[in-house]
């Protein structure tokens, strides 16, 4: 059995979980074993229906009063209890903050290794995985020991894909026994920020500026273009380190990971750390005066030139209609 821990935020399914389930389904087929999806918390129940097309034999709903708010150790307790009861061969979660956190707790409590951010698995003895390193700029081939094997599935290594044929999974409600310490860390409050319109995460177009922008004021032209195309503006680490943009605008390994329809990268040479942040973009347009900038090799479209010359020209062209 493979257990796939589905992540959601107060009843909203994360796409990463569908990616993980698609990955897990393929792995289960190769291992000739079954797939069980696990949903935690009362708010998760309605999600079961939308999981079904991804092909699993069983959906377990872990419920309990105290599961109303996210508590990483309680989620880990759910997995640990199931591990003891069902003896899965592999336990997977999406490689998100929560997925990695919960699986980290599972590994710690069970004293088992946990392989974070896997992009591939090669079951057998030894059981090998391919993991992402340095964001995703290097791949690691590794052996994972332990029973079960614990891992998280890196984001975007596989797009969600419904199974061509699937049977109706059995549904099961599960009430684990918790310890008080399982809830010593839990969300005690939520401060919602009212998104003022378009954010980096949701914008269909993101315009990023790096060293080539040159100054805080230099972003005005990026903002203007963003206004015209309904986009959001972000920056590379150079930009945030120089104080040209707030850290919340950073695109990269230690900032935001974005996935817009189009990412326009202006004056960004393309350090590995930045590429990690923008690789989710469907298409990338690079504007840089250095034709050898590393980002061109990841781009779909390129313009060679100074952004302070190219962007105003684009703006004029758009305004012209």
């Amino acid at each position: 059995m493979i257990i796939g821990l589905v992540e959601h935020d107060r009843g909203v399914l994360e796409e990463s979980s569908l990616q993980m389930l698609t990955f897990a389904r393929g792995l289960a087929a190769r291992m000739e074993t079954s797939l069980t999806a696990v949903l935690v918390g009362p708010e998760a129940r309605p999600l079961a229906e939308s999981l079904k097309p991804y092909g699993m034999s069983n959906i377990i709903l872990a419920e309990g009063d105290r599961l109303e708010h996210y508590a990483p150790e309680a989620w880990a307790r759910v997995v640990l209890t199931l591990m003891e009861e069902r003896r899965p061969e592999v336990v997977l979660a999406p490689g998100t903050d929560r997925g990695n956190e919960v699986m980290g707790h599972v590994g710690a409590k069970a004293d088992l290794p946990m392989a974070a951010n896997c992009s591939g698995m090669h079951p057998g003895d030894p059981f090998k995985v391919t993991r992402l390193r340095w964001g995703s700029s290097l791949l690691e081939e590794a052996v994972v020991e332990g029973d079960p094997r614990l891992a998280t599935v890196a984001l975007h290594v596989m797009e969600p894909e419904e199974a061509s044929l699937f049977n109706e999974p059995t549904m099961e409600v599960f009430s684990p026994v918790f310890e008080d310490t399982d809830f010593r860390v839990r969300v005690t409050a939520l401060e919602e920020t009212v998104a003022d319109g378009i954010t980096l995460k949701t914008a269909p177009v993101v315009i990023g500026g790096g060293r080539g922008v040159g100054s805080e004021e230099g972003y005005a032209v990026l903002e203007e273009l963003a206004g015209l195309v309904g986009g959001a503006v972000g920056g590379s680490r150079v930009a945030t380190n120089n104080g040209w943009r707030p850290h919340s605008d950073q695109i990269g390994l230690t900032g935001n990971r974005i996935a817009p329809e189009l990412y326009i990268a202006c004056g960004i040479s393309g350090a590995i750390q930045h590429m990690v942040g923008c690789k989710g973009a469907k298409r990338i347009l690079v504007i840089n005066n250095d034709p050898e900038a590393a980002l061109f090799s990841k781009a779909d479209y390129g313009v060679i030139g100074d952004l302070h010359e190219v962007l105003p020209a684009i703006i004029r062209e758009i305004k012209k209609g």
Binding site: A108, W134, S137, A189, L262, G302
Partner: protein, 256 residues
Amino acid sequence: MNILVCIKRVPDIGAKVELTGDRRAIVTRNLGFTISPHEECAVEEAVQWIEKDGGVSTVLTLGPDGAEEQLRDSLARGVDRGILLEVEEGEWDPGETARAIVEAIRAGGREGVGFDLFLFGNEAADTGDFQVGIRVAHALNLPCVTGIKHLELVDNKAVCKREVDSGWEVYEVPLPAVITVKEGINLPRYPSLRGTMKAKKKPVDRVRPERSGAGLQMLELSHPPEQGKKVEMLGEGSAAAPKVVELLKDLEVIPS
């Protein structure tokens, strides 16, 4: 207040890395070394809280002899003392690393050195394991909050905030606690000249931990396959503007 902050020495890479012949490491001949941006922020957070509340900050790393450089760099930024868990070159998995750190913390505890707060980076820049802090917390039976971008220490507890899509999750845990932080929690300082000089005189203890067995063993590294993307050049300078706008229309970003 006593704070322990744990960091990891990693190569300071450019846009392209080269692998060694055995494909088990990055060629670092002409690279410097650094720590991950998350960890820089963890160090800064420790220094700021000690500056504010008083106490002692300690920086710890598990790494080769050369990792003292990263400890000294943290000392130069204001941390008070360092601990080097000195190991041969080569990788330790997260479980092994956590066990060695816990052993060092316990050894300190036996000598009367206790910590109120353990700070980690959310994940290491190179291996991205996301779990050393969690494992340390479990071994010490302490609460652990990860991915924190805002921290308040009041009345012997930590109020932590984690950024999510919809806003901020708030966690509140009693001290001592383990907290892993993310870049953005603060703007880390550079070491000052004065701090760099002072750092030379600050104590760094060296301990040689025993290996306890890795459950996650790296076999080799590789570059991901080239995406085979062929970039379509739209032109040079402002002359490219019409083609860019055409593209924006094709992608339905702006009405055609």
